[in-house]
Subunit: 329 residues, 2 copies
Amino acid sequence: MSDTVVVGLDVGGTSTRAAALTLAGRRLGTGCAGGGNPTSHGAERAAAELLAALRQALADVDPARVRAGTIGLAGAARLLADPAGRDTFDRAWREAGLRCPYTVHGDALVAYASGTASPDGTVLIAGTGAIAAQVRDLRLDRVADGHGWLLGDAGSGFWLGREAVRRLLADLDRGRTPGQLTAAVLAELLGSAEVADRPRDTVDTVIQAVTRRPPVELARLAPLVVAAAQAGEPVAAGLIAEAAAHLAESVTRIRPVDADSPIVLGGGLLTGDTPLAAGVRGEIGRRWPAAPLRSAGDGAAAAAWLAARDLPEVTDPGHLHARLVSPTT
Amino acid sequence: MSDTVVVGLDVGGTSTRAAALTLAGRRLGTGCAGGGNPTSHGAERAAAELLAALRQALADVDPARVRAGTIGLAGAARLLADPAGRDTFDRAWREAGLRCPYTVHGDALVAYASGTASPDGTVLIAGTGAIAAQVRDLRLDRVADGHGWLLGDAGSGFWLGREAVRRLLADLDRGRTPGQLTAAVLAELLGSAEVADRPRDTVDTVIQAVTRRPPVELARLAPLVVAAAQAGEPVAAGLIAEAAAHLAESVTRIRPVDADSPIVLGGGLLTGDTPLAAGVRGEIGRRWPAAPLRSAGDGAAAAAWLAARDLPEVTDPGHLHARLVSPTT
């Protein structure tokens, strides 16, 4: 059984990660390539990044040993509904030398599985965007938000960046000297935190600097909010608290009030010891005090686990999760 | 003196209006043409609409009798800073047969002057966008918001439309049957208020329907919110209250707390007896109980008044305002 190899892929907007593991939990190879979200980058580009990551992970592995694989990616449902896109992925899979079948899951399910082996629970992800999903029997059941920057993604990196710029513009409207956070935002956008003699000129320049780029790039200001909140800056702390409330509200849309299943927090803004993660833990702890709260971990390993658990030799998926996703060796 | 003629133009995003008036307040002609905001439509198109409206207003007037003119338009500062755009307007002015000089003012100042003759006060406008401005000596002094849909326009028609869609998406996320407002929004966007068996499919279709068009077109949903609020629908009433609070907050950015100068409410959402106007009157009445609250009126006549008040024969601009902008004949 320990000779059986599985591969997992976590295809995200900024990076693609691959892992090849034995069922005993030995990591035979890992790979990393560029972002490959097929919705934003196209299936061809996504498949090329996938292949690059796969080849790295399989550099020291005979592909014939691989018995199962899972690809986790954003927009999975759209890819599966598109025969041409599916073909592109099939080709990349074969080009990597793989002959076993593979399954495709949404990135939210993979993030969930990277935090828990429980078949039922909730996942909340906040990165550039934000989405919450209820998982039932390791399938995405109901979904909240993930509506994109124009209509949703409340509490996401985009949201934090946009709100930070709005606070800056409000300071300028009021003729106030920008505070610690808003000055940092001004400096990031214009290269200097200096305000023109007519603050309205700075307002116009800020708006032009933002609207010159795609709106979603406002998310690159989120780290400024996180850093300022960590330093105790009150405007930033207020934004983080608002974002946490938005994210928790998304969870209330889909998670029963009496649920005690685990909740997995994922995405760059919620994994690790961030102020937003702390805020979300507080909001969620108030609503579901009995729910175990987990952080999303290694998505590629979680994808490999999702692939492996249906193999006939796997009798205890929970133990397998402990070996593959939370490895002790 | 009553033989002296002045012309005024109010160039807006959806229509351009012109008026030719004698200083006695006699209306010699009016004109109406398409939208001519030079920022969104370009100076050529704006000047063409301006000329069309001018020619109508001057159909029965000898242009040589016109002694002064004012053009009010959005993005006035940008036009004045652009010699080519200014030339385009100069040509249209001469093509209409006019030999007198003209001045250009922001549409916010013209809206203000359509509601009061007071040289100092505040104007708050909510239509597709939202802006507030402090007026000093009949010049725009400080401005709040007007930052555009991505970063501002809080409480505007765009804002109401976007929030209405967000409430609809929240209903669908929760698996709730849409309420009165959100069902109307769904029907407007998709042609039917029916929800798919998988509500997430309806979510995706709604998002696609919105993102297919320019974001600013979300403003066309605002009348649904206004109508539902008028019928007492609670979600719509809540959005109107939120919008009113946002608009009042913009005013606080620029208007001194102890001011007792007039406040003029303009734009499609605030002129007339709308729920948002009532909400804003409430918010503003709490903050500035002594301030006279006025509705914006005839912008073209107000522009004509702004042109006339500097003529040597005008000794009492307040009386002139009563004759031109609030005509009794």
